[in-house]
Structure formats: structure tokens, C-alpha cells
């Protein structure tokens, strides 16, 4: 199994989002919606921070 940085981040975000959604919401529909929302936020903020750091990478 080869995990590049983006895949690693998405896997991390997906697993943590699932666990947090299970704790924070009660019904399955609410949990699924919240997990997707958290996943999108994790990935968007991660990619956003990566672009912000890009000018300093060289």
C-alpha cells in the first residue's frame, strides 16, 4: 500500500470525521451528514493551509 500525502490526509480526515460524528450526533442520517461536512472542512482547510505555505517552500 502506497499512501501519498494527499491520500494520507484524506484517510486521516475520513476516519477522524467518522469518530467525531458518532460522538456528536444521534441519528445515522445526522451522523452521515456531519461526517461529510467535517471531511470536507478537514480537506479544504488542509489544502488551503498547504497553498498558504507554498510561497515559503522554496
Amino acid at each position: 500500500m502506497h499512501l501519498n500525502h494527499l491520500l494520507s490526509m484524506i484517510l486521516f480526515a475520513a476516519l477522524v470525521s467518522l469518530a467525531l460524528a458518532c460522538v456528536a450526533r444521534r441519528t445515522i442520517a445526522e451522523r452521515a451528514k456531519y461526517a461529510l461536512w467535517l471531511l470536507a472542512l478537514f480537506v479544504a482547510v488542509g489544502v488551503g493551509i498547504a497553498w498558504l505555505m507554498y510561497p515559503f517552500s522554496r
Binding site: L3, S8, L11, F12, L15, L18, A19, C22, V23
Partner: protein, 136 residues
């Protein structure tokens, strides 16, 4: 006690004795606490999340901190890692090749393994709350 114990009364008495064993079971095997409470979806999610993070962390050759890790960072790392219970010991065995934190992926792996422990500790608290009747 009047001799007539209602179903609710029995449940309260039963739950009052369970939280600590449930919390310990939840710590040792991720999801086991919820499985004992017959909350299968949560049990599955916490097991998948903790085990998945720990396995991915080992695959990325992250560092698994031991009890003897020096410094505050090492001690905090050990507490976070040990939170995943059996996954911690599995990670210790799986990382027989040793960590490789010379690459960014190895550093990611270290965070994955720590996150597995933190996620499981969250599960422990949730299972404890459910067993004591404070959470649904």
C-alpha cells in the same frame, strides 16, 4: 428498598456498576465498550477508526513512543499512543523495522498513531457516559 424494583430501577442499578469495566474494555479493545452496551454502529466505527489510523501509521513508518521515551514530548506521545489499547501493542510489533521519521510520511505516521489513541480515548469517554446513563 421496597421489594418492588421497577425495570427502570434495575437498569439504573445495573448501569451504576458498569461504567468502569465498560471504560476499561473500551480502552483495551477499541469499540468493545460500545459492543458490550450493544451499540453496534458506534462499536464498529470506533474500532475501524482506531485500528485504521494505527495500521496506516505503521504503514507510513511512524514512531511508536515507549514508556521510556525521554522528554515531555515523548511522554505525551506515549500517553496518546497508549490510548489505543491493543492497537498500541500491535503497532509496537508491526514497527519491527523501526520508524523512519527522516521523511515527511514517517512524521505523518507518528501523528496517525497518536490520533488512533486520542480517538479511542474519545470512545472510552463516550462508552463511560453511555454506561453511566449520562449519554444516549
Amino acid at each position: 428498598m421496597t421489594g418492588q424494583i421497577s425495570e427502570t430501577g434495575l437498569k439504573t442499578k445495573f448501569n451504576a456498576t458498569l461504567p468502569f469495566p465498560v471504560a476499561i474494555a473500551a480502552w483495551i479493545v477499541p469499540g468493545l465498550g460500545h459492543a458490550l452496551l450493544r451499540c453496534w454502529p458506534k462499536a464498529l466505527v470506533f474500532f475501524l477508526a482506531a485500528a485504521g489510523l494505527a495500521i496506516a501509521g505503521c504503514e507510513l513508518r511512524g514512531e511508536v513512543f515507549s514508556w521510556h521515551s525521554g522528554g515531555a514530548f515523548g511522554s505525551l506521545g506515549f500517553i496518546a499512543d497508549a490510548g489505543s489499547g491493543i492497537c498500541y501493542f500491535a503497532a509496537r510489533i508491526l514497527e519491527a523495522g523501526g520508524p523512519d521519521i527522516s521523511r515527511a510520511a514517517g512524521d505523518y505516521g507518528t501523528r496517525f498513531i497518536a490520533a488512533a489513541g486520542i480517538v479511542n480515548l474519545l470512545g472510552v469517554l463516550d462508552a463511560y457516559g453511555m454506561a453511566s446513563g449520562r449519554r444516549n
